[in-house]
Symmetry: C2
Subunit: 152 residues, 2 copies
């Protein structure tokens, strides 16, 4: 619904994504939403951010079609913020950020949260880019081809 509003002149999809979610607060709000957080006061407590900045970021995420507002699930007058399908499809972005942090930003033995498969209780393996034949694609095996029709 907000697709047209987000369009700018950048033919690079990375640049457009970064314009929408490439800031610290938006990424952390999306992270919390994946963890099941829904209420303004919970986001505020989790992130320790100023109310006006939180309001602004939530509004922008709603405008961008990443979150949508819903009446509170418990029948109270609160409004809740829930990931849309477009927001849910940010899952690989959040997982990739998590796994990079786990790999590089903790000392050995230092405690950190872990993303687990609920069914098995085990940590999920690293996100890997595979080609359609199953080959693992390293960065140097790929390149960006500029300005191809959007229908490809």
């Amino acid at each position: 619904m907000s697709r047209r509003k987000l369009i700018n002149d950048e033919p690079c999809p990375v640049a457009r994504s970064v314009d929408v979610v490439g800031d610290r607060w938006s990424l952390l709000i999306v992270r919390d939403a994946f963890d099941g957080m829904r209420r303004f006061s919970d986001f505020q407590r989790s992130l320790g951010m100023a109310r006006n900045i939180l309001s602004d970021r939530l509004r922008k995420l709603v405008e961008a079609g990443i979150l949508e507002t819903k009446p509170a699930s418990d029948g109270t007058a609160y409004q809740e913020y829930v990931l849309t399908p477009q927001g849910e499809s940010l899952f690989p972005v959040v997982v990739a950020l998590r796994q990079w942090g786990e790999q590089h930003l903790f000392n050995p033995g230092e405690r950190h949260s872990v993303l687990i498969n609920k069914r098995t209780g085990k940590a999920v393996p690293p996100l890997v880019l595979h080609d359609s034949d199953g080959t693992t694609l390293q960065p140097d095996m790929t390149e960006v081809r500029k300005l191809i029709s959007g229908s490809t």
Copy 2:
């Protein structure tokens, strides 16, 4: 090498990653570095950012161990900025941002750049989180377990 400097009190790897790369300019510099860009003047031309901000971001990316400086490959006096192995491991982050943008931020038929497998010339498939048995993991099949030892 810079591991200790980056440590803060956040037990969440997403938060630590976002502290290091969660801003528009850093993500776009890393994107350009994956595209083979190495020189200050090339980054500046590509990103159209102020020289002082570019200097600051490059310095922070070097301090964070994501880029390293090297003498120019052509023997001139220029300094070049190259991804370290730690920087290269941001590949899934950049690919995930790209694919989310391709999926949601372009109108049908609108032109955008495409990440291809150099060998086949074909666009790479979407990044998917698989469990070790090959199951595709959707967000609701996972959860974050807080504060596990960093050695897991």
